[in-house]
């Protein structure tokens, strides 16, 4: 790290200032404009030069008390429960993959990663037909069952990397002391792999939260998620209700911003792993 710092100091500070300005100028204005729209009074919304005004939070209040709140609640519920199920299934499998050698392990592991090689659209039609057969169209249960499956390969991958750092001797000595497997897993392995668990949960949650195509074809009203609700505004040639649309966009982004601020390191690692091994 010291070498890096030394190299940084040698660069002209001007390039850092310009670079920082460019990075912020690239990312923030686009999103902040949506935030501005979301609090712009209805009368001013089409006055594009009005950037300074008294903000209204009326629309956020409406979101909570009207039917628009339902999709957000659906998103929150299905993403969270789905991610927890993913975590339960994936961590059990990851423990086996990480701690044991057995014949066919490599093959089984590859099989688990296989779904990441082909795009989700390949499973779209059968899943819709299957959900119809099971009577799970437009139910939160259906979405949760599906979300639980989607991120298992990624979660296993992230968990396995985290579990590789758990000292083997610790597990072995606990086993020799007569601790049973469930005790070893719940008391020793999983607590030590906590950061991995957290990273898997956050990644699974975010991917579920952002998912659009599957909720679009599987839900219509009761279980409609935030992503689907946003698109149901558009279409047709009538003027879009930009106020509520912007509010929905901002609310959909809130948990993501929270996660970025709190768990940046875990996210960066997870996204890089997810991308490179995807």
């Amino acid at each position: 790290m010291r070498i890096v710092a030394a190299r940084g100091r040698r660069r002209a500070p001007l390039s850092h200032i310009v670079g920082t300005a460019l990075v912020l100028g690239w990312t923030l204005p686009a999103f902040l404009y949506l935030v501005v729209l979301s609090v712009k009074p209805e009368g001013l919304i089409a006055v594009r030069s009005a950037l300074v005004f008294w903000p209204t939070f009326e629309r956020y209040r409406e979101l909570v008390i009207t039917h628009l709140g339902l999709p957000i609640w659906n998103s929150l519920l299905t993403s969270t429960v789905g991610a927890l199920l993913t975590l339960a299934l994936a961590s059990l499998a990851a423990v086996t993959f990480s701690f044991l050698d057995f014949r066919g392990k490599a093959a089984l592991f590859l099989l688990m990663l296989l779904p990441r090689m082909f795009p989700p659209v390949t499973t779209l039609i059968p899943i819709q037909l299957g959900m119809k057969t099971l009577g799970l169209i437009d139910t939160r249960t259906g979405l949760i069952l599906l979300f639980a499956a989607f991120q298992i390969p990624l979660a296993i991958w992230v968990m396995r990397t985290a579990l590789a750092e758990v000292p083997r001797e610790l597990v072995e000595s606990a086993a020799l002391d007569g601790a049973s497997l469930p005790v070893i897993v719940t008391r020793i392995v999983l607590p030590l792999a906590g950061p991995g668990l957290l990273a898997s949960f956050i990644l699974a949650f975010i991917f579920n939260w952002n998912e659009f195509l599957f909720p679009l074809i599987l839900t219509s009203f009761n279980a409609k998620t935030g992503s689907v609700a946003i698109t149901s505004f558009s279409g047709g040639y009538k003027q879009l209700p930009w106020g509520p649309l912007a509010v929905l966009g901002v609310v959909m982004t809130m948990p993501v911003i929270l996660f970025v601020l709190v768990f940046r390191a875990a996210l960066v690692r997870g996204f890089t792993a997810g991308a490179v091994k995807g």
Partner: protein, 297 residues
């Protein structure tokens, strides 16, 4: 580690793995195979009681499908232009982050926001920016005397709008990957180059660029694949229009399956795309495999 160490039989451990394996198989692997099977059937969910085997009829139709050909062409152009921009800006941004500016980690976190946001929200952000009644883009254009027009309702500008939105959303990913590759370069190499009197540009071209070339290939490959299958932003921003000028392949599949209800033929298009992608990426990896190896990915 041996089975015996943990004092349990093999069965016990397989039982731990089995739920995840079965689950992934049921929801991800089996449906993919079912799609391939459906691709050989006539199955319009409105008219047909069930999938009817129709030999290779769908594939014959696939080869003569002009709409699909146009969608493919658009997707390829979109994927290449978006990826090129993302790699170019990503390279610059990664070099900036690699120079260790003050507050780098916070800055990186902010920079990552667009790619972690829901894609439909990214679409909404850019729809708002390009919208002539509420957005600033047309306002600025009018200010310099360009007559008002609907940015997302003209074929060329709608297409460009999607490219811009995609670049905004995914440049963080290429930046992140290239930044990781740059961080792996031993710092002594910079010192040595500087001692030899190399300028910053020389260092970038002769030291950094060759060593991140592998990652450029990896990041480019990832983005090409994803951008080729882009759907969410098309859905929000243009709906494939005006006309079919932004109807990319995924949107074409969506329309076949869920607007025309041609599940059989839509499956054929998906299977065809999958085959095409596999072939293209086999070539891509073979052509660049040495560079990919050097990226350690």
């Amino acid at each position: 580690m041996r089975w015996a160490t943990l004092g349990r039989g093999r069965l016990y451990f397989l039982l731990l793995t089995l739920p995840a394996v079965l689950y992934v198989f049921a929801w991800r692997i089996a449906p993919a195979f079912y799609t391939v099977w459906l691709s050989f059937t006539q199955y319009n969910i409105i008219y047909d009681p069930g999938p009817q085997w129709n030999h290779l009829e769908n594939y014959r139709r696939l080869l003569q499908d002009g709409g699909l050909g146009e969608a493919l062409r658009l997707s390829v152009v979109f994927a290449i232009s978006a990826t090129a921009i993302e790699l170019l800006i990503g390279l610059g941004a990664a070099a900036f982050f690699d120079s260790d500016p003050p507050g780098r980690n916070l800055l990186l976190g902010i920079f990552l926001l667009p790619m972690i946001m829901a894609p439909v929200v990214v679409g909404t952000v850019w729809s708002a920016l390009f919208d002539p009644t509420v957005g600033p883009v047309m306002y600025l254009f009018e200010r310099v005397g360009v007559p008002e027009f609907q940015w997302l309702s003209k074929p060329l500008t709608a297409f460009m709008g999607l490219v811009v939105a995609d670049a905004w959303e995914w440049t963080p990913l290429t930046t992140l990957l290239l930044f990781a590759a740059m961080q792996a370069i031993p710092r002594e190499q910079y010192e040595a180059a500087r001692a030899d009197g190399a300028s910053s540009f020389d260092i970038f071209r002769r030291v950094i660029l060759p060593q991140v070339a592998g990652m450029l290939v990896v990041a480019g490959g990832l983005r090409l694949m994803d951008a080729f299958l882009e759907l969410d932003k098309v859905f929000v921003m243009t709906g494939g229009g005006p006309g079919t000028s932004t109807q990319f392949v995924s949107y074409y599949v969506y329309k076949q399956a869920f607007q025309a209800y041609e599940l059989g033929y839509a499956s054929t298009v998906i299977t065809g795309l999958l085959a095409l992608l596999t072939v293209v990426f086999a070539f891509y990896l073979r052509r660049y495999s040495r560079m990919v190896d050097s990226a350690g990915a």
